[in-house]
Symmetry: C2
């Protein structure tokens, strides 16, 4: 975990100026996670956090949306890796594995609420005039959705679910997203604590016997 270095920076050695690109995105992510407010991100605030002057950013990004795009790409990778790790590290069969993936999803949203919001429709959204289309971004979440779909497929193969994995993965994800988003957005969450645990078996069409 990177420290919040407002301290003086030593410039990168020759030929390695590209490193600053990573540092800029890292600074943006720090600001996002720490302030919990996408409005706190500006070219100048990111530059301050990265310990560089504002104009230095232009050598690496054309504008703020370009930085946000890079941040979003990385965050989607993080999410995917988190879900994959949960799948691979959970023993006990398809249903515990499915539950572990769902729990990991919700934990990701709770640990990095503003990042989660940025991924799924927070303040930043791709501009139609830029090089990134909405279609591109719609594709981004699909890898994570596929993990859910695979988990469902395993449950069906083991005769523990009546789901149509392709379709019901969407339902499961949208349900998780509702919970995750609401938790990410308000600290007060009046719904029952175990509400996700109640929704998951329904949306996954788990057979009564299959529930833990």
């Amino acid at each position: 975990m990177a420290t919040s270095s407002t301290a003086a920076r030593t410039r990168n050695p020759r030929g390695e100026g590209g490193r600053l690109r990573d540092e800029i995105v890292g600074a943006a992510q720090q600001l996002l996670d720490e302030t919990g407010d996408a409005r706190a991100l500006s070219l100048r605030s990111i530059a301050r956090r990265a310990g560089i002057s504002a104009p230095s950013i232009y050598a690496h990004f054309t504008d703020l949306p370009a930085i946000m795009l890079e941040l979003v790409l990385r965050a989607f990778d993080d999410l995917e890796e988190t879900l994959r790790a949960a799948t691979e590290s959970t023993p006990g069969g398809p249903v515990p594995r499915l539950n572990a993936v769902c729990a990991a999803y919700l934990r990701f949203a709770q640990d990095y609420p503003e990042r989660y919001r940025t991924l799924f429709g927070g303040q930043w959204r791709p501009t139609t005039d830029g090089s990134v289309t909405e279609q591109d971004l719609a594709t981004l979440g699909l890898a994570s959705l596929q993990i859910l779909s695979d988990a469902l497929t395993d449950c069906v193969a083991a005769d523990l679910s009546d789901a149509d994995p392709e379709t019901d993965a969407w339902g499961l994800w949208l349900g998780l997203h509702g919970v995750a988003h609401q938790k990410a957005v308000s600290r007060v969450f009046p719904a029952p604590d175990d509400i996700a645990d109640r929704m998951i078996p329904m949306l996954a069409r788990l057979r009564p016997a299959a529930a833990d």
Copy 2:
């Protein structure tokens, strides 16, 4: 539906200066709906839209969050009224009524996406230092939740659902919220078109025979 009057305003008659309060909130709502971007709302932009000078706002609101609060209160009332109208105007028994309420909810989010986002955790969120606590706002949605809960209760009473209305209304709402929010946020929606219709019977624990 109010027209977008940037035209010259005639001042309110004596003793009726309070009317401007309504006009300010109306202007803010227009901007929100038309731009689809909460960032477009500033004291100055709202004043421009309302056809007044920026300082005139201070006679009616202390700051921008105060305007947003009023807007949110109204929008929650709108939503509640929309759901209630759907309940009352739908014949055919508890299940069609439940479906009508859910459809009305999703339509509200689709018709006024940025307003929906503002209600449920868009850019604007209550400040902890202000007079409005998060607890207050958490209470706001409860009237709409109650309508869902009542619809579930009717289904259970008619032996068409196995839900625990109090609890499962939360699950149903969070599922609807996931769909509504995702649709409000991105014009590209790769999930099956009928995904909500698939989720609702599950989350409402409708008995197989009860589904239309």
